[in-house]
């Protein structure tokens, strides 16, 4: 009986050693893969960080202003050129847009 038990324990131990070795090896490989993925994530985050910063630079107000002036011929908009919908004339109104106070008022913004 003791011999059977001993044999069983030794067999169990052998199997356990094999299983542990297998798990250990899989863990080591997973760790290497994890490190690789971590490094890749860090690289991608770094690249994204640079790209976001570049975007902030190229989409900054100074650049947009310069491009709007040089490419689109836009100038600094006085307040009343940015009017509200309520201030726009309705279809059938007697006063056309060119005679509305809005258009006249925008010319009143001090030039300097």
């Amino acid at each position: 009986m003791v011999r059977i038990l001993n044999t069983f324990c030794v067999a169990l131990m052998g199997l356990s050693i094999l299983a542990l070795y297998h798990v250990s090896e899989r863990t080591r490989i997973a760790d290497v893969e994890l490190s690789s993925v971590d490094r890749q994530i860090a690289r991608e985050e770094s690249t994204m960080s640079v790209l976001q910063t570049e975007w902030a630079h190229v989409a900054g107000p100074a650049r947009i202003h310069a491009l709007a002036e040089s490419r689109l011929g836009l100038t600094g908009a006085p307040a009343l050129q940015l009017s509200s919908f309520e201030a726009l004339p309705r279809r059938g109104d007697e006063a056309p847009l060119t005679d509305t106070p809005i258009r006249q008022a925008s010319a009143q913004v001090p030039a300097n």
């Binding site: 001993n6 960080s49 910063t53 900054g60 107000p61 908009a77 009017s83 509200s84 008022a105 001090p110």
Partner: protein, 534 residues
């Protein structure tokens, strides 16, 4: 008779028990890890890439970020041609050739720092040199996408990532404590750009030595924009021409002149020592002891209090200030925070200059009434003036986003604040601030033209001015105040050679408001045809 287990059998049993216990322990741990702790794997966070947190504006737009760069080191003993390597590395990286040559020749120095914070293109050029003994160490460099537009406000860091000036210095601990959590400012980058664009254009037009501007929310105390010129490029940090890293709006103190009349009138209205319609004698001079107060320009014999503010009469304001008295005036200015250092999130601040209580006599009360004899930081003045128009409650400026009402102690009665708003509107429609009157928005404000003191402290420099304009809009229920300042402006052909605030600072404030009000969502008023024809 049964025989007991031999010593070997007992040892085997003990060994087996120990093995079983060890396996049981491993089994329990496996069950614990697989069943109860599997969620923790996702919570493992690697070290942060960067040392300082991002800075973003109130809309989430990026203002400052650490970018990955490389520091370059060399091992001189591995270099065959030390002199040639020093020359090549100096050419490619911009490092000092003589320093490198000396360091490479020094046998005691096994590891020499060649250059810091190399960008990827410079790194590529170094690699193409093909030199042995070259090593790159990862590092970070603080980058500011908007460059000069935020330079004076954000400040800079040193090469080791420590905040040196501006908000980088003032928020250094917060930025370093949680590198992954962006710090959101109250600044609106669109307003910041417009303010800078207009202030710098005015500085060029009027050939002013310095200029600055601030936009502030009167209810929350949030600074929406702040600029100071001359400025500098925070990404290169080499001062070119008249570049300066000095923020005049926070770190300098000025005798601001007539914009202080707003405070004298607020005190008089609060204490009912005068009414807007009371008539005062103006004349050619107002004598106090051995001193005589004069006007900057000719004025009629009498003015109502309303006209005194509208036309910025020193003599009239001196009389009104004297009715309040020196003790009350001092206590009022102190309650507005003008006699103390204003501490904000900026690392810069200025100590106000004013007479000691024992020397705050009649003449001091009169001159401080119209803004002479007291020097404060422009930012301190803006906070005090915002208190006058926001319903009378003290507000402290902040550069961090704050949605809640930031108003505190009630300094003035709401009725006083309302009366002051009406007076400030009158200044813009009928007084020295007419050039700040823009269609679509009711602006209230006050001009200030102060002669600059002689640096040795004895007297003032004739015709050398600091001009400023304080504006609130929409004046019927102010949401924002704008303050602009020009240090030593010169008149132009368009202004008839006049450099006073009504011709220099007031139109500047008007242009700023006309551009930022639609962005800030301030509702427009319909424009009456009668108004347009003026």
């Amino acid at each position: 008779m049964t025989q007991g287990p031999t010593i070997f059998q007992r040892r085997i049993v003990i060994g087996a028990v120990l093995c079983v216990m060890a396996f049981a322990l491993v089994g329990v741990r496996l069950i614990d890890v697989t069943l109860f702790r599997h969620g923790e794997a996702g919570a493992v966070v690697g070290p942060s890439l960067f040392a300082r947190a991002d800075i973003v504006d109130r809309n989430g737009d990026l203002l400052a970020r650490d970018l990955p760069v490389m520091d370059l080191y060399a091992r001189p003993h591995a270099l065959d041609d030390k002199d040639g390597a020093a020359r090549d590395l100096a050419r490619v990286t911009g490092a000092d050739y003589r320093r490198l040559k000396g360091a490479f020749a020094n046998a005691k120095d096994p590891y020499v720092l060649v250059a810091r914070q190399l960008t990827p293109d410079v790194q590529d050029r170094v690699m193409h040199l093909g030199l042995p003994g070259i090593e790159f160490e990862p590092n970070t460099k603080r980058y500011y996408p908007d460059g000069r537009a935020t330079a004076q406000l954000l400040g800079v860091t040193d090469p080791d990532g420590n905040g040196q000036s501006g908000l980088e210095g003032g928020l250094d601990v917060q930025l370093r404590t949680a590198p992954g959590v962006p710090v959101q400012l109250s600044i609106d980058m669109r307003v910041q750009y417009i303010l800078g664009n207009e202030v710098e254009a005015a500085r060029q037009t009027f050939h002013a030595v310095k200029a600055g501007g601030v936009v502030m929310d009167v209810n929350t105390g949030e600074i929406i924009a702040m600029v100071s010129y001359p400025d500098f490029d925070p990404n290169y940090r080499h001062m070119i021409g008249d570049d300066s890293d000095h923020n005049i709006m926070a770190a300098d103190r000025y005798e601001l002149g007539s914009v202080f009349k707003v405070l004298s009138f607020a005190l008089a209205m609060e204490d009912h020592t005068t009414t807007p319609d009371e008539v005062f004698s103006i004349g050619n001079g107002y004598r106090i002891g051995k001193f005589t107060i004069h006007e900057a320009e000719h004025m009629p014999a009498t003015y109502t209090a309303r006209e005194i503010l509208a036309h910025s009469s020193n003599i009239g304001t001196a009389q009104i200030a004297l009715r309040s008295g020196g003790v009350r005036q001092r206590a009022f200015l102190d309650s507005l925070g003008l006699l103390r250092i204003l501490h904000t999130e900026l690392s810069e601040y200025a100590r106000p200059l004013f007479p000691a209580a024992a020397h705050w006599g009649t003449i001091e009360t009169a001159t401080i009434g119209f803004g002479h004899g007291i020097s404060v930081a422009p930012l301190s003045y803006i906070a005090a003036a915002a208190t006058v128009v926001n319903g009378g409650r003290k507000v402290v400026p902040t550069f961090l986003k704050r949605d809640a009402d930031g108003r505190g102690e009630q300094i003035l009665k709401p009725q006083t604040s309302l009366a002051m708003r009406e007076l400030l509107r009158y200044v813009v429609t009928n007084g020295t601030g007419r050039k700040a009157d823009i269609p679509g928005y009711d602006v209230g404000g006050k001009t200030g033209s102060a002669e600059k003191p002689i640096p040795n402290g004895h007297g003032y420099q004739p015709h050398v001015l600091v001009t400023s304009f304080f504006a609130a809009f929409p004046i019927e229920a102010p949401r924002y105040v704008v303050f602009v300042l020009l240090d030593t402006p010169h008149g132009t052909k368009e202004t008839g050679g006049i450099a006073l605030a009504g011709s220099t600072a007031a139109p500047l404030a008007g242009r700023v408001i006309s551009r930022i009000a639609p962005i800030l969502g301030v509702p427009q008023k319909p424009v009456a045809p009668a108004h347009e024809s003026t």
